[in-house]
Amino acid sequence: VGSLKYFRPVEVPDTSQPDSPGFGHPLRERPARYREPPLKLRAAGSFHHPGVSKWLSPWRVGAAERDRGQGCGLLLTGLRYRQERVCLRFAALTYMSIRDEIQNRVAEGRMLHLPHSIPSAERKRDMFVSEEVGQVVMPPWETNVDGLRFSMLRAHLDVFTSGGLISIASDPYSKPKATYMARIDPPADEVWDIRSIDPRPAIRVLGCFAETDLFVALTWEYRMNLGGPDSKEWRDFREKCKAKWRGLFPAYQPFTGETANEYVSENAHVV
């Protein structure tokens, strides 16, 4: 939790009046967009995040004011609007990391942390599941074929959370059939597929990494309903996953890593 810091308002002189100190400055004759920089953001103290080291839009300030009171971020100030001569606004702007967002989604009941089914098992990685995935992987399971299959899917997901040895393919097409986890095409979308191929019917769980060793499982489907890799069903499946991510974390892109070990830090072998 960052501490709140207070800032003194910055006076910006109005150079439009003849008696003002800056009147007649060469910059005055330029178009307004050169004379007044857009939305300048100033912050005291140090912080390191690309999301707040940019210009801010008034919309973001409004969102920040709405979220003020959560107090997890920084006070940023000194906003200067492009079209207004002098306009200083001071706002408490809350910087929320992806973890804060996950906390909020869990609190809203839209996501669930998936603990290992065996309470004594060690937790090495974390997985959060959407409501849709949670409905099938959380016990009790029905006493039928589907219930049996979903219980085995849960054991499959628990391999991830307990830090078990898993195989990862970052190439969507070149991978062994039994790969545990693979990135699907196009790779730039950062949508990953947990492949529960045994027993039949096989199940695919799609999701995205929020950070290293933190996977968010968003949707699932029986493999037999998906057709080939270029099928409409697969595309819809992928788009559904992306839409769910955007719905849960509109301000964040899925985590992107250079190597497989940036997604899963240990006990993973690349195939």
Partner: protein, 135 residues
């Protein structure tokens, strides 16, 4: 959560299914660790077992339909090993304290029966989660 068998009560099919799959993954983990430790290639292992390389590739990809004979063959062919048998009682062991990330707030204060009621306005703020601020 999964529960231990009690008396003559029938064990839910889902619980049995979970432990079946868990057993397969534990054996798979054991074999694959041995294989990585041995630094053998899949081609060498295939030659040792007299099988085609694609069969070995499939076997090492996932536990699938491994039987006891498959496990025995693989462990012995990799490094002359055999499985050691014992019984553990995972549901008897004490629960771990770090079942969830430490940055995730304590969930016990929430009305989980009505998750939609935990709105932005009604749920505790982060300061309250962390004990740094008054509610």
């Amino acid at each position: 959560m999964l529960s231990k068998p009690e008396g003559a009560g029938r064990i839910p099919l889902g619980t049995l299914g979970y432990f079946r799959a868990r057993n397969k993954w534990r054996v798979y983990d054991l074999v694959l660790r041995e294989f990585k430790k041995s630094e053998l290639s899949q081609a060498d292992l295939a030659r040792r077992l007299g099988k085609r390389p694609e069969v070995i590739s499939r076997l090492l990809g996932a536990p699938g339909n491994w039987g006891l004979d498959t496990v025995s063959d693989l462990l012995f062919a990799i490094a002359g090993g055999e499985p050691v048998y014992g019984v553990a009682y995972p549901l008897n062991e004490a629960a771990r304290n770090d079942a969830q990330p430490d940055w995730l707030p304590d969930i016990h204060n929430y009305d989980w029966a009505n998750p939609k009621e935990n709105t932005q306005e009604t749920r505790p703020t982060l300061l309250e989660y962390t004990g740094l601020g008054a509610p």
